[in-house]
């Protein structure tokens, strides 16, 4: 049988715009190209602005994980101004990031992932579902559809909790550099405790059992969609007056080897991306031949790496499963449960008092790198400033790592590797199988695509 090229586009139920082109031969995928088809360029927008604009402006990179960018930009500014973070600020910030992460994971599981496995009602927005591999009993299916709609209020409650402190979301206001501008008063704390307890019950009673149900009905997906097994995390939920101590450890996991990451080993490559180099500047070039994505290939020590909840759970020893589409989904749900418990603990540790914020007036450094894990994996912001003005701002997102297109060594990124070699059981199963594997990575293409000033290699040893 001859080779067949198929364009899978649009890949719906994710954040941003994604097209995936595959080559099929004898019922198997022999090549995959995952292309982010949206370019916005926040890095260019940051150039020339006041550095304190970073927290609010970079949140606009992404809607579903806005506080991920707010958090890293906040840490970056803490570094440039050399702030001392009060303890209450550390708790508050982690509560807020955790709430956004819970919102993200719950929405990803129910709104984005569920229709890959569950037959949705024949009405908008679920028309033409085309689910040819449905394995749930009518009763189980009905229960999960019901949970889809129940998750609406629960994910909303996660954002409500965040807003009690953050003013609004997406794009919250109070988590800024030097701390948090809102007072953790007793009434706010008890309001948030009520909200998180409701989220916690839902996660325990619905999300976790629902994940287990899907995992057992579709257990072959524990062997489908694996990557080469290189995982990376920058560590998550940072404490300490200088954001120096992540609660969940960072790590580079390759095979059985676990080591500490060093940002100087990160590099980017534009071989397959719609960018060209012009006078040391990378500029977008949407007609570049053979390119297929606005996402750049990112490597650590010359190799592509997978990141996200599975990477974090493996690196921290919280999960002992394997490396597949279903492991990714499973690890994300287990992480969701762990995070709800952390938020309850942190809310109880908050001491009611005035706004925990101390901002110094002027930056004391000209260059800083901030890196931490957020919902989808390792996120990095770096900035070079002159006075208080941005000369260069750089963002490397988790989606760029996971959705790396082919680099100059024709090495594929994790998603492309996960798709390659997959067997498609029948012609009407192509979208279903591809969709399940792709969504297990929780793609966020709005995050994936920006432009940078190519001369800036990351400098300075970053302690994780």
């Amino acid at each position: 049988m001859s080779k067949k090229r198929v364009m899978f586009s649009p890949v719906t139920r994710l954040s941003g715009l994604l097209s995936v082109e595959v080559v099929e031969e004898r019922g198997g995928i022999i090549e995959a190209k995952a292309g982010g088809t949206l370019f916005r360029g926040i890095e260019a927008i940051m150039k020339g602005r006041h550095i304190t604009d970073a927290v609010y402006l970079t949140q606009r990179v992404c809607g579903i994980c806005s506080l991920a960018h707010g958090t890293v930009a906040g840490y970056l500014l803490d570094g440039l101004y050399d702030h001392e973070l009060p303890e209450n600020a550390q708790y508050l910030r982690n509560i807020m990031l955790a709430a956004d992460t819970l919102q993200n994971h719950i929405r990803h599981f129910y709104f984005f992932s569920l229709p890959d496995y569950v037959k949705m009602p024949e009405q908008p927005p679920f028309l033409n579902q085309n689910l040819h591999d449905h394995r749930l009993s009518q009763q189980d299916n009905a229960r999960l559809v019901n949970h889809y709609f129940r998750s609406v209020a629960v994910s909303q409650e996660c954002h409500q909790l965040l807003t009690v402190f953050g003013g609004k979301i997406p794009h919250q206001h109070s988590f800024v550099h030097g701390g948090v501008a809102v007072a953790p008063t007793a009434d706010k704390i008890s309001q948030c405790l009520a909200l998180i307890h409701s989220v916690h019950s839902f996660v325990k009673e619905c999300l976790v059992p629902d994940t287990e149900l899907i995992a057992s009905a579709y257990r072959d997906y524990f062997r489908i969609g694996g990557t080469p097994g290189r995982f990376l995390s920058f560590g998550m939920f940072r404490f300490g007056s200088k954001n120096q101590s992540p609660l969940w450890r960072s790590g580079v996991l390759a095979g059985a080897q676990l080591s500490v990451p060093d940002v100087r080993l990160i590099s980017e490559d534009i071989t397959s991306s719609w960018f060209v180099n012009a006078d040391g500047q990378e500029i977008p070039s949407p007609s570049k031949p053979a390119a297929y994505s606005y996402i750049k290939s990112v490597q650590y020590a010359g190799q592509t790496f997978e990141m996200g909840p599975l990477a974090r759970m493996l690196i921290n020893g919280f999960y002992r499963g394997g490396n597949s589409a279903m492991d990714r989904i499973y690890a994300r749900s287990m992480e969701t449960l762990l995070i709800t418990e952390l938020v309850i603990d942190w809310l109880n540790k908050l001491v009611p008092g005035p706004p925990p914020i101390q901002q110094k007036k002027v930056p004391v450094k000209e260059y800083a790198v901030a890196a931490t894990d957020v919902m989808r994996g390792a996120l990095l912001h770096s900035a070079r400033i002159k006075g208080e003005q941005v000369e260069e701002y750089r963002i490397i997102t988790p989606t760029a790592w996971n959705f790396s297109p082919k680099n100059n060594k024709v090495q594929t990124g994790p998603v492309e590797s996960a798709l390659t070699g997959t067997v498609i059981p029948g012609p009407d199963m192509l979208y279903t199988v591809l969709g399940r594997i792709i969504r297990s990575f929780d793609p966020c293409i709005s995050c994936g695509t920006h432009v940078l000033n190519a001369k800036g290699d990351l400098t300075g040893k970053m302690v994780f």
């Binding site: 364009m7 899978f8 586009s9 649009p10 719906t12 139920r13 994710l14 715009l17 097209s19 082109e21 088809t37 949206l38 370019f39 916005r40 260019a44 927008i45 602005r49 006041h50 304190t52 604009d53 609010y56 606009r60 992404c62 809607g63 579903i64 806005s66 929405r107 709104f111 949705m120 908008p124 927005p125 679920f126 028309l127 033409n128 579902q129 085309n130 709609f149 609406v152 909303q156 954002h159 807003t163 009690v164 402190f165 003013g167 609004k168 979301i169 794009h171 919250q172 206001h173 109070s174 800024v176 007072a183 500029i283 949407p286 007609s287 706004p355 914020i357 979208y431 966020c444 709005s446």
Partner: protein, 322 residues
């Protein structure tokens, strides 16, 4: 129910502490649909160049919650975020809806539209032979829609996607289509503004618009007018640092020239808004956001817009001041 009465009730209920407005909207819609045996509002939602924050904001709607909006108010036919269909199955729905519901559907555009390089900076879908850009989709569907709603500030005016240096040459929907576009701006939109607008379209057609083509119901007055800290402003008591309880004008607040009802409507089940979180309003509903609000923490008179742009007048923004 008369349009005037509906608008009156909306205004009145917005000011109430128990926040009955959206709940009221849903009941009214149900009653209307029953009495007229009318269908739901058919919606085609196209995501273009933005961060996807407006669809997340939409998921945060309360009374009616998202599930109620989908079951009782709109038929969300095409939506990259929610639809179960994928690949060509999804595109088929788009083509079918555009043909069968020609002149009847509401086109919601979430995001700006890049024009440079044939619009290739935002591709909605690709086939083996061609790329369907945001601009292609808009010029195709725009003339066929009954209403066009630009959702969020990027779709309305360009927003962050068009912020300087605007590498992709992005513009708002109004600069692509030669027809009326209802702008529901905000970065992101407050779900009440959007769901309220959809309900208005279903019940009474296009709402009354301000000078920036936004529903006057939500954007008609400035943030400053209803701000809880207005008495501090009037007496000249200004915050010295973030976290202070006085007026945030000194820390960059753009409330005086921003049309929005945040001080009383608030966000995410109406629990808080930026000034109550001890930070300045950054004017995210404005025509010149973010460039006209940046640097965010610099007082309004000292904000320095790029040299090629004029300083917007204090009254700009389509809202009544005071």
């Amino acid at each position: 129910m008369q349009k005037e009465e509906f608008n009156y009730r909306c205004r009145e209920l917005s000011a109430g502490l128990d926040f009955q407005l959206t709940k009221y909207v849903l009941d009214t819609v149900q009653e209307h649909r029953k009495s007229k045996s009318a269908g739901k509002l058919p919606v085609i939602w196209i995501e273009t160049s933005d961060s996807g924050d407006n669809n997340i904001a939409f998921m945060n709607t309360t009374y009616p919650y998202l599930g109620q909006v989908l079951s009782g108010l709109i038929d969300l036919l095409y939506s990259n975020t929610f639809m179960a269909a994928q690949g060509k199955d999804a595109l088929n729905i788009l083509e079918q809806a555009a043909t069968e519901l020609r002149g009847k559907f509401t086109l919601v555009v979430e995001g700006a539209v890049p024009l440079k390089d044939n619009g290739l900076y935002t591709v909605i879908a690709r086939t083996e032979n061609y790329s369907l850009t945001a601009r292609d989709v808009l010029t195709w569907l725009g003339p066929l829609a009954k209403y066009v709603v630009a959702l969020g500030t990027c779709a309305s005016f360009g927003g962050v996607s068009a912020a300087r240096p605007n590498v992709a040459g992005s513009v708002g929907v109004r600069d692509v289509l030669k027809r009326e576009v209802i702008n529901v701006s905000g970065c992101p939109v407050n779900p009440d503004w959007f769901v309220g607008t959809l309900a208005h379209l279903l019940l009474f057609g296009a709402p009354e618009l301000d000078s920036l083509n936004r529903p006057a119901l939500f954007y008609g007055f400035t943030v400053h007018r209803h701000c809880q800290r207005r008495s501090y402003f009037d007496q000249g008591h200004f915050a010295e640092k973030l976290g202070d309880l006085e007026c945030m004008f000194s820390l960059g607040c753009v409330g005086p020239r921003t049309g929005a009802d945040c001080p009383y409507r608030q966000w995410i089940n109406h629990v808080n808004w930026p000034v109550r979180a001890n930070t300045p309003c950054i004017g995210c509903t404005n025509e010149d956001f973010p460039d006209g609000s940046s640097p965010f923490f610099t007082p309004l008179p000292e904000k320095n817009p790029p040299p090629h742009e004029e300083q917007p007048a204090a009254s700009k923004g389509g809202a009544k001041g005071e």
